[in-house]
């Protein structure tokens, strides 16, 4: 495998995206939290809200930069490692990335700089507008990149001409349901992650005895967001699943480890796939007809099984299956945790609620795991295709040597590990240094002109 440039390129893209995807959802989620906090400050002129926005915004600032630097490697890799892909579908795929840069990256970077360095230079109102612009920029960016990914999941609006895929209907590419649905599900789960991050970090701070009042206020703002967004994430996930049933039956069969085409298909709560023998080791605690209902809203609907597809057209079953179960499992638990946090949001610092604070702290990694699992399912479940039904991953690589690919893989993995480790330590410092105190900048104690 180490002598296979294609395999190494896949691994490298997976590693880079995984690191990138640790930072990006937090940036999107925190941007909303900070924007709401600072809007509260603008409305009430309560300096406490300004301190809140500053505290969480500093974490956002560092996290955003780490997202930027890990992200730039991805754009480059389409050219360096996936040149056959870039050549073949660049006419459709390239514009989506280029439009993302033009419409979103300049916006985000400019307004984030205004927000970070402009506390004393712009009016409170302009300062609030800046953070909303950062959020809008990140949402616009998410839309284009997810539309690009959705085209790989369900290619539309193109024709094969001149030996490549050429755009015929740009509007169809940008507005297809697969893009809109995936965008909604992904972005809402990022917002959920941001809210759970605030809950978890605040809970830990209260446990450590740092700023009860300050972090209770953070939790009071984040808890309703966590509740609403975690419910919407689950709902969006279900809609996404129905879309997959329609457009990628092989992915659906793999994520459910469903082998024989049949109707009134149950879901077995206990399942373990056995890819070699084209079946499952165990199938226990079956809920009759559940898969048919979930996929097609019809108790008797027929669901295609994996055996319907020749082995070379099947995605890796175990990985798809496990990542799906992990994502759904976490997604089911999170609204419950959010409900508790919301119910006790004002009293979270009370002594007897220690277990709840512990629970919120323990829940901190959950949304990340769910988001990464969802991404693994999306990409692995699409295999063996890089563009579903149009181009196989095996045909998409660059004419590079395995040595080159191995070298850059090792280099990037080490580099990103260091960035992640140091980044975590430094974000931890910002997060656990307690509420802004006497050493905080003077502008946090001033209202400022407007």
């Amino acid at each position: 495998m180490l002598s296979d440039a294609l395999f190494l390129s896949r691994l490298q893209f997976a590693v880079s995206t995984a690191f990138h995807f640790i930072f990006v959802p937090l940036s999107i989620g925190l941007a909303l939290v900070v924007a709401l906090m600072e809007t509260q400050y603008l409305r009430t002129r309560d300096l406490e809200w300004k301190r809140q926005a500053w505290f969480w915004g500093r974490i956002l600032g560092l996290n955003f930069v780490l997202g930027v630097v890990t992200g730039i490697t991805l754009e480059f890799q389409f050219g360096t490692n996936w040149s056959a892909y870039s050549k073949y579908v660049g006419d459709v795929f390239g514009p989506l990335l280029a439009i993302e840069v033009t419409t979103a990256f300049f916006l985000e970077s400019t307004f984030l700089a205004v927000w970070i360095f402009g506390w004393k230079k712009v009016s409170p109102r302009t300062h609030v507008i800046a953070i909303w612009m950062v959020l809008i920029g990140s949402l616009v960016s998410a839309y284009w990149i997810i539309a690009a990914n959705a085209w790989m999941q369900r290619p539309v609006g193109f024709a094969i001409r001149n030996g490549r895929a050429e755009i015929t209907d740009f509007f169809a590419v940008v507005t297809q349901p697969a893009a809109v649905i995936a965008f909604a599900h992904t972005v809402i789960s990022c917002l959920t992650l941001g809210a759970f991050f605030v809950l978890g970090i605040s809970a830990i701070n209260i446990i450590l005895g740092k700023g009860e009042a300050f972090f209770t206020r953070s939790i009071a703002l984040a808890a309703p967001l966590a509740l609403v967004f975690s419910i919407l994430t689950a709902a969006g996930g279900h809609i996404n699943g129905e879309e997959i049933a329609k457009i990628q039956p092989a992915k659906l069969a793999a994520m459910e480890s469903h082998w024989e085409t049949s109707s009134r298909v149950p879901i077995a709560l206990l399942t373990w796939p056995d890819e070699k023998n084209e079946g499952n080791y165990i199938e226990a605690i079956k809920v009759p007809g559940l898969l048919s209902v979930m996929a097609f809203r019809d108790f008797n609907a027929e669901v295609k099984g994996l055996k319907e597809f020749p082995p070379e057209d099947r995605p890796p079953v175990l990985l798809s299956f496990l990542s799906f179960r992990l994502m759904v499992g976490i997604g089911t638990v999170m609204p419950g945790i959010a409900l508790l946090a919301w119910f006790f949001r004002k009293r979270i610092a009370e002594k007897k609620l220690f277990p709840l604070r512990l629970l919120l702290a323990a829940a901190l990694p959950l949304p990340w795991l769910a988001i990464l699992a969802g991404w693994v399912l999306t990409e692995v479940g699409r295999q063996p295709w890089i563009v579903y039904g149009v181009m196989r991953t095996a045909d998409a690589g660059s004419p590079i040597t395995a040595g080159q690919a191995l070298g850059s893989l090792v280099l990037l993995t080490i580099l990103f590990s260091v960035v992640l480790a140091v980044g975590k330590i430094f974000i931890g410092r910002l997060a656990f240094s307690g509420p802004p105190g006497d050493d905080a900048p003077a502008f946090l104690r001033e209202g400022g002109q407007s």
Binding site: L62, I72, E75, F78, T80, G90, A98, T102, S398, G407
Partner: protein, 335 residues
Amino acid sequence: MITLWFFIWVFLWVMFFITDGYDLGLGSLLPVVARKEDERKLVHSAIGPYWDGNEVWLIAAGGMTFAAFPGAYATMFSALYTALMLVLVGLVVRGAAIGLRESARSESERRVIDYAFSVANLVLCILFGTAFANIFRGVPINAAGVFQGGFFTLLNWYGLLGGLFFTAALLHHGALWFMVKAGGPAAERTGRLIRWLFVGTAGLGAVFVFATGAVTGIARAVPDRPLMVIPLVAAIGGLLASTYFAGKTEWKKAFAGSAAFIAGLIFFCMAGIYPALLPSSLDPAFSVTATGSASSPLTLKIMLGVVVVFLPIIFGYQWWAARIFKGKAQAEDHY
């Protein structure tokens, strides 16, 4: 249409070099111009609000290559594989260092971060210079567009000369930027350095231009495209203007002169390789050309609409943001 896109493509690279160029140059100079912590902080204040927006021009240049010339994007990026991977490492270290420095707790942590930061900047200057010199000269790509060399193919004398020259030019550019944005002992030190940076830039620039005439096809293109003389004259004029205004300590004008120098030179060289985006050193017929690698007319039209609508908007809010940060940077500008 394709020629227009070629100019847009060149324009984006020029924007990258004249904007990110100054913070790469200044970042490389950090240990030379700043000796004490508040001086180092001042250098970071002159970079902090700008570098990320500047780096976006690089992403835009890459993205537009992908959108408008996917064939060139695929060949160029895979041919320059190792160089680009090192560029990525440099960009990651540079950006991460800026982000992390803010919450460093001790002098020694800041030392390590600043060291990594300035080395990354310097390496990036050299790599970009070497990569572009190789693009001007052409790299060994065969008829199928497959690169026939390795990383060391790029380290030929002309490529290395390009690396040295770009580094000198960007250090000069960055030093002038610092003079625009800062005062105090660090600026005085930088001011004394500028004459030497100018000498280095002009000297290496002259050698580079002659070498370019000797080993690339750029000079041979001039008789067919007499208009190429304009950017070349603009470059020379800009460089002379930069030293003239530097002598009068009119730093903004000196910085603008340096920007004109970099822009003119890149424009001149790239116009000289047209219609190739990446010439082949094996056989001109194997070169990756604008026409041969372009997207479909519909895609080019869509992207032209995007550029025409959004570039003015981008310039608008960037101008607005630049006005917010106008004037000298202060060490305590950090949030």
